[in-house]
Amino acid sequence: MLEISSAVRAAILSLVRIVIGLLFMEHGTSKYLGFPAGGHLGDPHTMSGAGGILELVGGALIVLGLFTRPVAFVLCGEMAVAYFYAHFPRNFFPVLNGGDAAVLYCFMFLLLAFLGGGSWSIDALWSNSSTQKKDRREHGAGDDHHGSHDPLGDFTR
């Protein structure tokens, strides 16, 4: 079948990351900034209000691709907690307890914690500039694939 280059895959990962971050951030902005007008204003002392702060700040960081791995890990945990507190007591099946989105978010954020933010992210900008500086010091001319290692590449054929 077709070979997808790792550059394309990293770009698509960033696209997916940005969309998921925006979707996630919506909940936070509707709780604290009133946009889009969804519902209740958030109170940081409640469980959903505290979640709202994570959604706002964490979601924004995910959209920007800044500190993607640790932020995604925290958000994955938040979604797991939300699922087991708000959805699981209602019913075992996500399709019945309304927890589809929580489960999907949880596992997608876990994947982002492992894969990082992809190429369109502030993380990537920073690591590119720091490896370029290191290469210039060590080699004098930039070597782009120095140390770039793509374990997923073996499975994309």
Binding site: M1, I4, V8, R9, I12, L13, L15, V16, V19, I20, L23, E26, H27, S30, P36, A37, G38, R69, F92, F93, P94, V95, L96, D100, A101, V103, L104, Y105, F107, M108, L110, L111, A113, F114, L115, G116, H149, P151, L152, D154, F155, T156, R157
Partner: protein, 136 residues
């Protein structure tokens, strides 16, 4: 950082885990339409293969099963991602209810659409029928 390289080691396996979970969620949405499992949804009481819901249910069952097993993953992911996009734009009069998914209740469709889109590009990972077949 060493923890980063340790995380990178397990990227393929993590991809497979996400794929299985997303596939199961997707499959269960279709099962509820056609087989009333685990519990029937009254909105789908008289579902027929000619209706939009009926076709959606078939795609969800077949696509969800393929994605969970990791067989023909890219094709299945592409079709199911498209189905979710269609479901977002054509169902429930979404544009009229508000442009943002949180207003029109379409968060899940957008989420599935993009996660499945990623699998079109990333493939199925090592724990899948595709990987087992390729090894032979």
């Amino acid at each position: 950082m060493s923890w980063e390289s340790r995380l990178e080691q397990y990227q393929p396996q993590m991809l497979s885990i996400l794929r299985i979970m997303a596939g199961l969620l997707f499959l269960s949405a279709g099962l509820q339409k056609w087989f009333a499992f685990p519990v029937a949804n009254p909105a789908f009481a008289n579902i027929s293969p000619m209706s939009m819901f009926g076709v959606a249910g078939i795609i969800e069952i077949v696509g969800g099963a393929l994605i969970t097993a990791g067989f023909l993953t890219r094709v299945a992911a592409f079709v199911t991602s498209g189905e979710m996009a269609v479901a977002y734009w054509y169902f429930s009069n979404r544009p009229a209810r508000g442009f943002m998914p949180i207003q029109n209740g379409g968060t899940l469709e957008v989420l599935f659409c993009f996660v499945l889109l990623y699998f079109v590009f990333a493939g199925s990972g090592p724990w899948s029928l595709d990987a087992a077949i390729r090894k032979r």
